[in-house]
């Protein structure tokens, strides 16, 4: 696979989580992703990586790189297919460099009525989390 090729719906994507705050740890045996991990603010796109064909170590390696570049520690990742993202009206667009990077775009913009737009973003983030799988680093 050439990562910069157009995204197909079966492709898995990873959103790397760099703060424990984005995981609900109330049930320590079954931690849950929080919707906040999939909200794009302050940008209008959500940064993800295309992980098709990578094993666990390969995905984790990218996550550690992302975390290191941002001065954080990798906590985990949310995995979701591109098709799941597309099914709720968003798009996944390749955006390299870095290799395998893509953006989830098509979010409601924060423009006229920011709080109303934010509520729409939160709902979309909830819908993504319902389709995503948490992997702890």
């Amino acid at each position: 696979m050439t990562p910069a090729h157009p995204v197909v719906s079966s492709e898995p994507l990873a959103r790397f989580i760099l703060t424990r705050s984005h995981i609900n740890w109330e049930d320590s045996e079954r931690p849950r992703l929080r919707p906040e991990a999939f909200m794009p603010h302050p940008r209008i796109e959500l940064s993800v990586f295309r992980i098709e064909g990578l094993d666990q170590n390969g995905v984790r390696e990218i996550g550690v790189d992302v975390a290191t570049q941002r001065g954080k520690t990798l906590v985990g990742r949310g995995e979701v297919t591109a098709g799941s993202i597309q099914s709720i009206g968003l798009r996944v667009e390749p955006k390299e460099p870095p290799p395998r990077h893509a953006d989830i775009v098509g979010w409601p913009t924060l423009s006229g009525t920011p709080k109303e737009d934010k509520s729409r973003q939160k709902l979309i983030a909830q819908q993504i989390v319902e389709r995503a799988r948490l992997v702890i680093a």
């Binding site: 609900n24 603010h41 709080k115 509520s119 909830q126």
Partner: protein, 167 residues
């Protein structure tokens, strides 16, 4: 200020007194004093409410600095913390306690989660307008309400729906 992303205090024993002076230092000292008072007061509450207030304090301290999520999130400000706390205090004990998190725009989010596709959250910023979003099976809702002193009826109606309580 550094991010507290990986620091999860449940008490304030780890904080040493600062020698900083000036208006900003005084404001921060006052804020932390108030947070500490709130933390100590929460010790006298019942288990679930106490845990939620503890979690609110932890979230505020975790996200008090900018970029707490590694993706340029905005800092959670003192007024945002106050508003979320007032909401929790106004919420009657008839409702299950929500979980607390920070949004990347610096707001604090309270979420009630019943199971897959059964969730409802309210976000608080520094002003009186709160935004909410929820999933009730195949139905979804989102919008805004105004929170002054009482939990808005619109929020109560959505909680009733989530927990299938009669109106």
């Amino acid at each position: 200020m550094t991010s507290c992303t990986d620091f999860y205090p449940t008490s304030f024993a780890g904080f040493s007194a600062s020698r900083a002076q000036g208006a900003d230092a005084a404001a921060v000292q006052s804020l932390f004093s108030e947070v500490q008072d709130n933390f100590l007061a929460s010790q006298s509450l019942g288990g679930p409410a106490r845990k939620t207030l503890d979690s609110l304090v932890d979230t505020f301290l975790d996200c008090f600095g900018a970029d707490w999520d590694g993706y340029d999130a905005l800092a959670v400000g003192p007024q945002t913390y106050h508003n979320a706390r007032r909401f929790l205090e106004a919420l009657t004990s008839a409702w299950p306690q929500p979980s607390v998190a920070a949004d990347p725009d610096g707001e604090i989010s309270l979420e009630w989660y019943r199971g897959p596709r059964m969730r409802f959250s309210v976000s608080f910023g520094p002003d009186a307008t709160v935004s909410y979003a929820g999933m009730f099976g195949t139905s979804t809702v989102h919008g805004t309400e105004t929170f002054i002193d009482e939990v808005p009826d619109g929020i109560i109606q959505h909680l009733r729906r989530l927990y299938r309580m009669p109106a």
